[in-house]
Symmetry: C2
Subunit: 357 residues, 2 copies
DNA sequence: GTGAAAGCGCTAACAT
DNA sequence: ATGTTAGCGCTTTCAC
């Protein structure tokens, strides 16, 4: 029932090898007339190559593995999307494995992928590395994307949080703020360290000396931003602006200010980080720094494929910058209040509904 | 360099077929001693089967294709996760293809998957069906999940929105509300039709005759919920509760009430639909009906695999019910205000960080 | 420029 | 209970 290359060759009246060459437009010299004949036969039969058979022979599956912490984590889908868009252009597909922050799962996932002869692996935000796993990765092209605790190592693609934090603080400085608070993320996370450093450096660049009472601990969750701003606003000299380490804490910051009868941004400017979808929904909408997830995904895929194709062996750590997204929470009004539409539908939706019942 | 089955057989001093039988614990009778010898050899060499070669022979790739509108759409990752969890138990993996609501992309995606000899396809929220594509799907096990415009057809898994809407309205009725408004979604969507029907049926079951002035049109976005409630609250007899067709419009409803100086839920109860992540972040947090995405994913995978294994040919449309998630926006206080933590980390996170530098 | 034939690593029918 | 062998569909030497 399924059409094989033999069928095409027979119909075109040529040999198997000629049919193969014609369809793979190999650089092998061949009569253009026979090529056309093969192409016509293939089309007539609706031939599609059996990729499994081809892979067995060529020892390339045109498949990359993506090992993710959990596809439900907010940054994971855009990273995957970036990877997929990039590899799709080269005829590759991907197999995604969730490991749920578990070292054993991760090891199993890598083994599964290796048994399936994938050409390379992208590991997304998996902070767990034990020696067994590293051995499993040996000799297999791989790239790390994002990170939690690690210092950026060779072969990894990471967000440039230091740069992003400076963007945020510089924006507040430009608006005239001088007492700018910072709400930290969880200790030891690279994002926490880099964003704090960006905050400090931006203040230093503006010749402002940092006031440590304006730096509060948070844990990435809404509640911690709320608590932090409750404390900050009870200081003798409260801040006029808050840079929260992420959008969730920025939201908590806004709620704290509102609960005290203050208006954001009039009485307190708030900037977040990440550009989560809700940053555009809530009121006031949240000015924030975008996590360049899709771009990170694309870059990591490009690097991986160059390694696979032997054009590169090991890449330096790549820092991907995100942009500042100015919305309402920091005092630059865009005019009358407007909600943003759902993100996924923004650029890609194009409903060409051709229904058949 | 890579270990093949031959290597294992040689080391164990048995033939290729014996090695194969031992490792696949086939029901073929065999000496347990030789089996152990093979297993030991395989372990010693770190043998893993070449799945590509196996697939070529067995004509099964243990791979399913998942065709999605866009992995960035909010419901898609949980559906994928449900599918992956289910198929993982049977040794299957998945290949995801984004089609961006484009019929041509969808056709290409299905062809690509077929060439890769996948065992079945799950199509998620792809409303586009043309005859070519259906032909491409012919003879390949497939299941449809979710839907936009279609009536549920055989072989599809859909949310039971009618049931969910009744849950929402019944909850408001139980709280004593008698004037309950409804904000519709986009016309012709199954979700719109079913949720409206559930609303009407729940009111009818309570012997309340529907008041058409309490039903407003919306377009799923925040702004339309905002506008609808602005209008509703200017009625001579305004509602005391609003059931919004989704969480985004529920959020807009809350903002409209707040802008008029009203408090939610004290002055107006609001219930949403979908259980988007922000429903737990915002203030007041939003009572809503969960879209049972993971469950839909699991069910669709179970159905697909039974078809693949020949235990089933065509399934009836399956309706998956979601639960009511009671939060703050409808007047049942859970005590002091509490933000919900990030969803992805809820059940699955288990950081067993074993770092190696 | 085209064809014949080997072989990728595995499973399964067939022999012993 | 174990071994021998054919062959899945394709690419790619090697011969002509």
């Amino acid at each position: 029932m399924p059409v094989r290359l033999t069928d095409v060759a027979d119909l075109a009246g040529v040999s198997l090898s000629t049919a193969s060459r014609a369809l793979n437009d190999s650089d092998h010299p061949m009569n253009d007339q026979t090529r056309q004949a093969v192409l016509a036969a293939a089309k007539q039969l609706g031939y599609g190559p059996n990729i499994v058979a081809r892979s067995l022979r060529t020892e390339r599956t045109l498949t990359v593995g993506i090992v993710v912490e959990n596809i439900l984590s907010p940054f994971i889908p855009p990273i995957i999307r970036g990877i997929q868009d990039s590899i799709d252009e080269h005829g590759y597909v991907s197999i995604i494995m969730n490991v749920d922050w578990d070292a054993e799962n991760e090891l199993r996932a890598i083994k599964t992928l290796n048994n399936r002869q994938i050409d390379g692996i992208i590991l997304v935000e998996s902070c767990i590395r034990n020696s067994e796993e590293v051995a499993e990765l040996k000799d297999k092209p791989h790239v790390f994307v994002h990170r939690l605790f690690d210092v950026p190592s060779p072969g990894s693609v990471v967000p440039d949080d230091h740069h992003g934090a400076k963007l945020a603080v510089n924006h507040l400085l430009k608006l005239g703020h001088r007492r700018i608070a910072f709400i930290n993320g969880l200790e030891n996370w690279a994002a926490t360290i880099d964003r704090l450093k960006g905050y400090n450096d931006a203040l230093a660049d503006a010749d402002l000396n940092a006031d440590s009472t304006l730096i509060k601990d948070g844990d990435w969750n809404v509640q911690s931003g709320y608590r932090a701003v409750k404390e900050l606003l009870s200081l003798a000299e409260p801040p006029t602006a808050v840079f929260a380490g992420n959008d969730l804490m920025a939201l908590g910051a806004i709620y704290a200010a509102q609960e005290l009868g203050m208006q954001v941004p009039r009485d307190l400017a708030v900037v977040g980080y990440d550009d989560r979808d809700f940053a555009g929904f809530v009121r006031p909408s949240i000015t924030t720094v975008q996590m360049p997830c899709e771009e990170m995904g694309r870059k990591s895929a490009e690097i991986l494929l160059s390694i696979v194709n032997g054009q590169m062996t090991q890449s330096e750590a790549l820092f991907v910058p995100g942009q500042l997204i100015v919305r309402e929470s920091c005092g630059v009004s865009k005019g009358p209040w407007e909600f943003e539409p759902e993100r996924a539908s923004l650029t890609r939706q194009k409903r060409t509904s051709v229904r058949i019942q």
